[in-house]
Symmetry: none
Subunit: 202 residues, 4 copies
DNA sequence: AATGAATGAGCCTTCATTCAT
DNA sequence: GATGAATGAAGGCTCATTCAT
């Protein structure tokens, strides 16, 4: 989706235009949601024509898809990069909490969008997202498996790890992003990291 | 909101009609979201006329508001009733997790709606919701204050309690409701209750 | 398609409105073709709102479909009614030419539309049209079969009858309707009827 | 129309490009009609750039015009060439039917386009077409006039000749091209030629 | 209370065409 | 000659809401 003709690289000007559109769209989506944002909103924010939007992205959902796929991949890659620098289970679990917190603070708008559930992806994008998610979950599990095996991390129902480790920080970030309270998650980062480790340590 | 003219009780027939509309609307909202549901969808599902919908609820948002205000109050009342039967902080914290889990399993559609974030309430409804939330949070804090004071529950940033206690079970329920995994939350109820208690005990 | 709820008859007012829309649409279609006619054109000609159009017909094509299905059925029924009053093959063949000519002169706009080929029917309408056509062709063949069997009408490849009998008058009408020449087909009706009979008589 | 600058012959490369575009456009037009074909459809089918299309043809209609003018002239020239080899009225009338049949079978896509009525030509092209048509009709009438004068061909209203002679084969070809029936017109060529002659012979 | 036809602002999208490179 | 990004008018359609019956 990043290019209509993958065999020929896009010119820099094209990439710049696309990037500026994505930036503008992100601001709109974060403010009013995807459903609450009109093509005209994006077009005005990006200072381009409607035709240009469709030329580059094919549809309104096409913009959201590219934005979110890029965003999720960015989040995932950052998480995996962080994990690879960890020596053991404890560092890893705490890194997940910390990285999620840091990334959300650096990418507030994107985080806001990823939390909202009003996105309706096309079949193609849904497949791509599933693939990305599968790969990511696979990598995560592969990373933690040794720590579980050696007993450093508790054996739990597989579906329980993510909620126990990430549930609190995600909930905190969600509330912070939606303005429920003013305190940035940095304040509770280590507290939640410790709690996460306590919840899953062997 | 349950009646337009509190001085004259509504006839049972009217209440039945309203209840059947709310039921139909809930099913639609749970399936397609509030934004994704049209008045016609509800009308068809409730097997009534459009005029009737407007006669009873005034607007589409009026339906959502009545539904969600009732739902939140039901959830809140159940939670407080449960808490009042608890003797100490540990029982209380675990009851919060357990009750949230049980309620969500008994009210899947409503839980799905409450998780979604695409609802835009009118000024009047927003005020009513804020009031309800304020009262509820006040009652919750009043209940837990003694346990914090006596040291049974840790002293933490106020914004941290809810995420630490409810974050994991909420995240688990959300994933279960959206079909990410098939295992109902009952399976992890006590596990998550224990983790919640560990996270906030003194 | 004539009604959204076939189990309940439409009120006269509704039928009148639909009829006036169909009338207006026919005028537009005859003038500019279906593709060349916009919903706004019809709306202005019918003096109603866009919403009303969609309320009654569902889509622009829905209007065209109802119009053409009604039109074709009208043509077919008239043809069969005429045939049933014929005593032999010769009268029948000549009646086909004459009736086609008369109907086209009485329904110029509809005839113009039926000649144009720029209509894209929905699956449902296409199925309905196929059914109508099948029934009509079946009735026509059933009518002529005895005359072929008794030798009054020639045995020919089945696909040849319609072009031989109707081809000339259709071509003449088409040219007249599109303004290629000013002489109405009444002038050549009997000439073409005789030619048709000559072409297929036994 | 074949060249923008008649004083300087186009290079073969240019002609090849134009020819390949016309070929691609014809395929598109035959499949989806002129209105149903977009510039992008042609561009993709011709494997060239949009700019190139406009460089060579000026507009979408420019492509259709060149294609159809060439096509009609090809049809007309073939017809006249055939007629000139006929010795009398009977041979001539039958040649018209036969040639139309043969040409349509050899140029199915073009025939399909010429049958469709959704083409809206520009003033310049319309004038050119009228001129072509006038010349062609003039030549045809000039050819047949002697046979009418000598009594070999009946005296009929001028507008009746074409429908009587060509109507059946045209209708047959139209139905065959649109898939209504599978039998190619070659099967009925002589049958229809005989019928045509019967219809107009003196 | 009930009904559903009527309304029209606003949305997403298409597509022929232009033009700078 | 070739390229394709940019343009924006115009089209079909949705949908919450009103109101006469």
């Amino acid at each position: 989706m990043a290019s209509r003709n993958p065999s020929r690289p896009e010119r820099p000007a094209t990439l710049e235009r696309k990037a500026s559109v994505l930036e503008a769209a992100l601001a709109c989506f974060a403010k009013n949601g995807v459903d609450g944002t009109t093509i005209q909103d994006i077009q005005r924010a990006a200072n381009c024509s409607i035709g240009s939007l469709y030329h580059h992205f094919g549809s309104k959902d096409g913009i959201a898809e590219e934005l979110f796929i890029d965003g999720i991949q960015n989040l995932n890659h950052g998480m995996l990069a962080k994990l690879r620098r960890c020596k053991n289970g404890e560092e890893s679990v705490k890194a997940v909490v910390g990285q999620y917190c840091d990334w959300s603070m650096r990418n507030k708008d994107l985080a806001r969008c990823l939390h909202s559930r009003d996105i309706e992806f096309s079949g193609e994008a849904r497949a791509r997202l599933k693939e990305i998610h599968r790969d990511y979950i696979g990598a995560i599990y592969a990373w933690f498996a040794p720590f579980v095996e050696c007993g450093e991390v508790r054996v739990l129902p597989v579906d329980a790890y993510v909620p126990l480790i990430s549930g609190p920080i995600q909930e905190y970030v969600r509330r912070w992003l939606s303005g429920h309270h003013p305190n940035p998650p940095a304040k509770v980062k280590t507290l939640f990291a410790d709690a996460a480790w306590n919840a899953v340590k062997g």
